[in-house]
């Protein structure tokens, strides 16, 4: 069918994109655990992604690393490989492949909204587009993150005796939320759960400034009244949370648009902040790339495949096992 197979293996050179098990040679789009796994032989990725992998898994998490800057074509055998920013998290990339006059782009996970913590998405034209579909249903129309921040800051102002704890994935979402808070003019210290520290320092080392940060561990209950804490999503259910002052559980995720879902998971303040394209962005991007074929990797692929076919595009779901099924991890 093509030089890329449905498991995202580039057949002429036996290189895999984001393989879910250990492979000799892999291209990694970004550092989230369901895309970047340990144990590969040789890894090709952006410098930021390599730094993230090493920080999370250790220096020796792959046999060797090769850094490739955005927009720099690299010939691997007869296949030309170029990485372009995906806007998802720091270092996240789309992969463009050219071979025998055919161009394929794998978006990895992406978003098109401006985000100072990630290199901005670039649109890349192609014949075949391999796209994610984490929010591939028309109910997902993400609101402006600035509006969500305004709701958060209003709640903080209205509840001066309570700690707002924002459940965030430690890589990407946490730093995005801090950056949004700063952009909204919030200049007080932001308190971090210990699990947030390493990757946040990595972001700062790589030039993303996030303002004054403190550790929850160093603060008393009294100190935490009226403050904002960033923690992994599960932390509130941990004994750790007992040190917080009457916490308001906020969760920053694209899933939070569904109130019944927020309610069921006990989230008091759902913040719809997503690092993935929403339904409208997914469709716009597909149209703008000019692709005649769309392969859908993971997420709610049924609806997006159905929509593509309605537009007269060839479209198939790839059903790759191992990417985060409900996206909770990556979000």
């Amino acid at each position: 069918m093509s030089f890329l197979d449905r498991n995202l293996r580039i057949t002429p050179i036996d290189v895999w994109i984001d393989p879910t098990g250990p492979r000799e040679r892999a291209i990694i789009t970004h550092g989230h655990g369901d895309h970047a796994r340990r144990g590969h032989g040789a890894v090709l990725a952006t410098p930021d992604t390599i730094a993230i992998m090493k920080a999370r898994y250790g220096e020796d998490c792959a046999g060797s690393f090769q850094a490739l800057d955005y927009g720099t074509p690299l010939m691997v055998g007869d296949v030309e490989v170029t990485l372009f920013p995906a806007g998802h998290i720091l270092g996240s990339a789309q992969v463009r492949l050219r071979y025998n006059g055919e161009t394929i782009v794998d978006t990895g996970d992406y978003k098109r909204l401006v985000d100072p913590t990630a290199q901005p998405f670039e649109l890349v034209r192609c014949d075949i587009l391999v796209t994610e579909a984490t929010f591939g249903l028309p109910v997902f129309q993400h609101p402006k993150p600035q509006d969500e921040m305004a709701r958060l800051l209003k709640s903080v102002a209205d509840n001066p005796a309570r700690t707002h704890v924002i459940g965030c994935y430690a890589l990407g979402k946490a730093q995005r939320v801090m950056s949004l808070l700063r952009a909204a003019g919030y200049d007080r210290p932001i308190y971090l759960h210990g699990a947030m520290v390493e990757l946040t320092e990595l972001y700062e080392d790589r030039g993303i400034t996030l303002g004054p940060l403190e550790l929850v561990l160093d603060a008393s209950k009294k100190d935490l009244e009226g403050q904002i804490v960033i923690a992994p999503p599960g932390a509130l259910k941990d004994r750790w949370s007992r040190r917080l002052a009457d916490p308001v559980l906020a969760m920053a995720s694209g899933w939070m648009s569904v109130k019944q879902r927020a309610r069921q998971s006990g989230v008091e303040l759902p913040l719809v902040i997503s690092d993935h394209a929403d339904w409208n962005e997914l469709r716009e991007t597909i149209a703008e790339t000019g692709a005649g074929q769309v392969w859908v990797t993971h997420g709610r692929e049924d609806a997006l495949v159905y929509w593509c076919r309605q537009q007269g595009l060839g479209s198939i779901p790839l059903n790759i096992v191992g990417y985060d099924e409900n996206g909770e991890g990556g979000e």
């Binding site: 648009s257 109130k259 019944q260 006990g266 609806a303 309605q310």
Partner: protein
């Protein structure tokens, strides 16, 4: 509308009852008439539209969104109203929606043919939260976990008036409740409503303390009755259709037409709603089939006919007999039954007994042989006093059954308990295997909860989401009211009202109860 949308969202997402109450109080205090009255109607489920139905909204949306994509989305979201609010593809110049009362009037008065266009334009104009609230309001299915009782409690808290006084007149009031708010704010008299729709707050009993109370009380001062295993209701009979109120003043007549359409005379009666043929009460499980339903099906009416076992009288005809002593009310009640023969009402018998030990024996046998919940004691000279007055009515529940069961799984609780493993599933032995028989989340102190939480965390062998499976070592003495045959549990047994009586840190799991031992409880009920 914006304020109402904010309120609705807060109510949907705040787990704390007190915060919900505060939000309601603030809203009612700060929102003018008639908007707050309409909000109250929506929150208590009293508002319905003639022409705006879920199907209309669905049609409006599927005219704009591919039906297959809509179906996939609905399947994912699981709530029709939310799906509609989230999927609406047009986003206009967000201008504020009309105020609540105008909006409701608009929806109510617009001709059927023009409704789709109106709804579409409102959806386009609304910001996301208002859209959500708008759809909830229009479909009438709030699903935000708010009881009508909580809304009434908020009104009571706000005004300093007892909640019983609000419940009493509730069913005679009309939307948008301007008279009610005027009275709550001391700007007007208490609304005067028709006798037939008036709910009279009930007289409730206190549990008896066997060691203290029985020493002090004289048996001859008290009448005893069985404590029936149904639900407490009030039946109001007058000129119009009968009203049937639950303990909290909810009107439930629509679900029990077999009862309310077949009662005669004029009175306000207090009794136990039961199901069964020929006045033979069926187990509570059967009654449950008919509760929480808006209407009854023909099959339910045939299989589980409802009747009322009457034990007190509040009004004899139009005469308020509540100030009379119990024994006089009882005479009135018996005379009333002679005047109006009934097919769906009967009298709760008064149990003759000489002294407390004799009644204790009666109570024990009633529980063992007929599954009665216990006995009620009523001071013969007591008037009918709403609320829970001390020293007049007592409930003397049967001794709980107990079984030693082994903790198998623990689940995190909610709200304040969300960092604690506080919901426990326990089981008994079936041969070499433990089978779950129930789940309990109270009966222990806060200190014990901390200990249990620690124990669970240190003895986890597997986790499934919020649930932990623990090593099978810890024994609970579980108390329960009764046991029923259940197809849902692997053990085939379900416990009614289980609670942790004691934590048996000392007892080895191998000495816990067995499924064979549980059979005894099944036979007894």
């Amino acid at each position: 509308m914006k304020r109402f949308a904010q309120l609705l969202e807060l109510l949907a997402l705040t787990p704390s009852r007190n915060r919900k109450l505060d939000a309601l109080k603030t809203y009612f205090a700060e929102t003018p008439d008639p908007d707050r009255g309409f909000a109250l109607a929506i929150l208590t489920g009293a508002l319905t539209f003639k022409n705006v139905k879920p199907a209309v909204l669905r049609d409006v949306v599927t005219a704009e969104v591919d039906p297959h994509l809509f179906a996939l989305s609905y399947d994912y979201v699981g709530d029709l109203g939310e799906t509609i609010a989230l999927i609406w593809p047009h986003h206009g110049q967000q201008e504020e929606l009309p105020r609540l009362s105008d909006l409701i009037e608009l929806l109510d008065t617009t001709a059927k043919g023009k409704l789709p266009a109106l709804i579409a334009s409102l959806l386009t104009r609304a910001a996301i939260n208002e859209r959500w609230a708008l759809v909830k309001l229009a479909t009438g299915a709030l699903r935000i976990g708010l009881s009508a009782r909580l809304a009434k409690t908020a009104l009571a808290d706000m005004s300093g008036k007892p909640v019983q006084e609000i419940e009493e007149i509730w069913h005679g009031l009309t939307i948008p409740y301007t008279e009610l708010f005027a009275w709550l704010e001391d700007r007007g008299p208490r609304p005067d409503i028709a006798h037939e729709v008036r709910f009279h707050p009930m007289m409730l009993s206190n549990p008896i303390d066997e060691t203290v109370d029985l020493q002090k009380l004289a048996p001859e001062d008290f009448a005893a009755e069985w404590k029936w295993d149904g639900i407490r209701v009030q039946l109001v009979l007058g000129q119009g259709p009968a009203s049937l109120f639950s303990r909290t003043g909810d009107e439930i007549a629509a679900a029990f037409p077999d009862l309310v359409d077949n009662v005669f005379g004029e009175a306000v009666l207090d009794g136990e709603l039961l199901v069964g043929h020929d006045f033979m009460p069926a187990p509570f499980n059967d009654l449950q089939q008919r509760l929480n339903r808006k209407i009854a099906t023909a099959k339910h009416l045939a299989d589980y006919p409802a009747f009322l076992r009457v034990y007190d009288m509040l009004f004899d005809g139009r005469e308020d007999v509540r100030p009379l002593p119990w024994h006089e009310r009882r005479q009135r009640l018996e005379a009333w039954f002679r005047r109006y023969p009934q097919t769906r009402l009967d009298l709760s018998e008064v149990l003759p007994f000489g002294d407390w030990p004799e009644l204790a024996e009666l109570r024990r046998r009633g529980a063992a042989e007929q599954g009665h919940e216990g006995v009620m004691l009523k001071l013969r000279t007591s008037p009918y006093v709403p609320g829970r007055p001390k020293g007049l009515w007592f409930k003397w529940k049967r001794d709980p059954n107990v079984v030693d069961a082994v903790l198998m799984y623990a689940q995190r609780g909610h709200g304040k308990r969300s960092s604690f493993y506080s919901d426990y599933t326990f089981g008994v032995w079936k041969g070499n295997e433990l089978v779950p028989i129930g789940k309990a989340y109270f009966g222990f102190t806060d200190a014990e909860l901390k200990q249990l939480d620690n124990w669970v965390r240190n003895h986890t062998i597997q986790s499934f989401g919020p649930v932990r499976e623990v090593s099978k070592e810890l024994v609970f003495e579980v108390a329960f009211d009764s046991a029923q045959v259940s197809g849902r549990h692997k053990s085939g047994v379900a416990l009614r009202f289980p609670r942790i009586n004691r934590i048996r840190w000392d007892k080895p799991a191998s000495e816990a109860g067995t499924l064979e031992e549980m059979q005894v409880f099944l036979e007894a009920t």
